[in-house]
């Protein structure tokens, strides 16, 4: 391991330790804000891990988030917490495998259409099941989880997400994914099983999203399908990852922090027009920053030395 890598690792470790002490210092409002920040950082990073290298746009974040939250609402009071989280993760993973296998073998359009409707589809099935079988619509979440617990769990999950993202990028699997992103036909000719690679990555990231939903569920207290499967989350996650730059592991986090603060401010100040403003922000990002802040930074870095090269060549 080189020296810079070791310093980066040490800084990351120090940052995580420092972040772990946040709940002891700040008040309830800022803790809630920190939880939102962590939540969106994890969601956007997980989104970027799949959509960055493969360039498949997934609009299904809230489907997985909602499944996680709803699992907690159903099982939270009956089973120990760690078991509930495990079950939520398994359900999310199974759902991701089904969706992945049925759409990722086809072209990207099918995947987009399916993820576009997935949250609505799952919501409808949950409503149907609750109305016809269990006859309850809307559940209370009474579990013994404090705000501090939520924060620490999200922080742990964030560490796991970044860790696995880092490991994947350095493995054969990550290399295969980059080739798929560049050109799928080439990847297939190299002997990469494209479908399995895509489905595996989709499942891993979707499981993270499900876990975020499960961890966040105690914060809602009352959950019904329209709250759990809120389409705005999918939208916010995509825009955050895009602002940061989905092709780098650190990119989405860079977008998640400013936009979480912005949306928090907007929904408090302009509740009626926040959708409109968010749409405008989204379009601005798509047009002005197609590869995100990270892409801009890399372009600037690449531009400076090459400019001096040109001058050197002329002289």
């Amino acid at each position: 391991m080189s020296r810079t890598q070791m310093t980066t690792g040490a800084i990351c470790l120090a940052a995580v330790v420092a972040l772990a002490f946040v709940p002891m210092i700040v008040d309830a409002y800022h803790l809630a804000l920190a939880i939102s920040l962590l939540q969106f950082t994890v969601l956007a990073t997980a989104w970027g891990m799949f959509s960055g290298p493969t360039r498949y746009v997934s609009l299904a974040t809230t489907a997985f988030f909602g499944v996680g939250a709803y699992t907690v609402a159903v099982l939270g009071e009956q089973l120990p917490w760690s078991l509930v989280l495990l079950i939520a993760a398994v359900i999310g993973a199974v759902m991701a495998v089904i969706v992945g296998l049925s759409t990722l073998r086809l072209s990207g359009v099918h995947f987009v259409i399916f993820t576009f409707g997935l949250a609505e589809l799952v919501r409808q099935i949950v409503v149907w099941y609750e109305v016809n079988k269990t006859r309850v619509l809307g559940r209370y979440v009474f579990v013994d989880i404090t705000q501090n617990d939520i924060y620490w769990q999200l922080l742990a999950l964030a560490v796991i997400v970044f860790g696995s993202g880092w490991l994947i990028a350095r493995s054969r699997f990550g290399f295969a994914l980059r080739i798929i992103g560049e050109d799928e036909t080439v990847a297939r000719h190299c002997g990469i099983n494209v479908t399995i690679a895509k489905v595996a990555l989709f499942t891993i990231t979707a499981t993270f999203m499900t876990l975020v939903g499960a961890i966040m569920a105690p914060r809602f207290t009352y959950i019904e399908p329209s709250i759990a499967f809120n389409a705005t989350i999918s939208f916010e996650v995509v825009i955050m990852a895009l602002l940061g730059g989905a092709h780098r592991l650190w990119g989405p986090a860079l977008g998640a922090i400013p936009l979480t603060l912005l949306f928090d401010f907007l929904s408090a100040r302009f509740p009626s027009t926040s959708t409109l403003i968010m749409g405008v922000v989204f379009l601005l990002i798509v047009y002005a920053l197609p590869s995100g802040v990270v892409g801009l930074w890399e372009k600037l870095k690449a531009w400076r030395p090459s400019a001096s090269n040109v001058r050197g060549a002329q002289a």
Partner: protein, 289 residues
């Protein structure tokens, strides 16, 4: 049973009409428009506003709504989407860009409608007269909507197959690069196809507002169904739209009558996946790539 089939046919006809507009936008202009349903709801609100505010018959309102939405869609393509088309190096890159841009647009249009009308459901009563047909009772407004959908669909089909401009639109759908070799202005034809799609979805919105309740946020469902129909029928294929649209409407109506009205979306997706497992390019689609 007969009633379910009739309802399904009317619904399917509307889906087919909606999907025809999207197939023009996606098949010809290569814009995967996720804000499509929002324009349908926009037209429904326009029709509502004309009917309740100005007492204008929705059918007469069509004469106002269609040209306006044609113009809006044309401008949208020219101002917002042409830069993306220029920027995109490959067709896949354009697809990703257009998905993202129209996804943002969806929230903008929805946001505008939410600020103007709020989140409540709207409907108005126009020609809600019961009519007897093959022994079953159906509302007149549904029948008229279905009839007009057939007329519009037929007019579009004839335009595309019998006129010069229609032929050039089809040429761009097949191959936008080769189309330039026979002196077709691809940018203009694409803009025209996109605007035509916008006009079609607006007319569908007016027709649907006559018999369905709608709210500012119900556009997403229509986008989804239109996308499903387009891909299921084969992108760029009008006949595919018709067959897939009718299949979707019928299956939905049958499930709603005999199993549970809460499972319509599940049926849509099951049908979608079923067709794609057998024919990945759609019912009438030719295998590409």
């Amino acid at each position: 049973m007969t009633n379910a089939v009739l309802t399904g046919l009317v619904l399917g006809g509307m889906y087919a009409l909606i999907a025809m507009g999207l197939t023009l936008q996606y098949g010809v202009a290569r814009i995967m428009n996720l804000s499509y349903g929002e324009f349908l709801i926009g037209a429904a609100f326009a029709s509502y506003w004309l009917f309740t505010g100005w007492a204008l018959n929705p059918l007469a309102g069509l004469a106002f709504v269609i040209p306006v939405s044609f113009g809006i869609s044309y401008l949208l393509y020219r101002v917002l989407l042409t830069p993306l088309v220029r920027r995109a190096r490959t067709r896949d890159a354009l697809e990703v860009d257009s998905i993202l841009a129209t996804f943002g647009m969806m929230f903008i249009v929805q946001g505008i409608m939410l600020t103007m009308f709020g989140g409540a459901y709207f409907s108005y009563s126009f020609l809600a007269i019961p009519v007897k047909i093959v022994g079953e009772v159906l509302a007149l407004n549904r029948l008229i909507a279905f009839g007009l959908a057939v007329v519009v669909g037929l007019a579009l089909y004839l335009t595309l197959t019998r006129t010069r401009i229609g032929t050039s639109i089809r040429a761009v759908a097949v191959d936008p690069i080769a189309a330039q070799l026979v002196a077709i202005d691809v940018t203009r034809t694409s803009a025209l196809a996109f605007a035509l799609g916008g006009a079609l979805v607006a007319s569908a919105g007016v027709l649907i507002s006559m018999f369905l309740t709608f709210s500012a946020t119900s556009g997403v469902v229509f986008t989804m169904k239109a996308l499903i129909v387009v891909v299921m029928g084969g992108v760029g294929n009008l006949l595919g739209c018709l067959v897939a649209g009718l299949a979707l409407g019928l299956s939905e109506a049958l499930v709603a009558t005999f199993i549970d009205p809460g499972l319509t979306l599940a049926v849509n997706f099951a049908l979608f996946l079923g067709v794609l497992l057998v024919k990945p390019a759609g019912i009438f689609g030719r295998a590409q790539r």
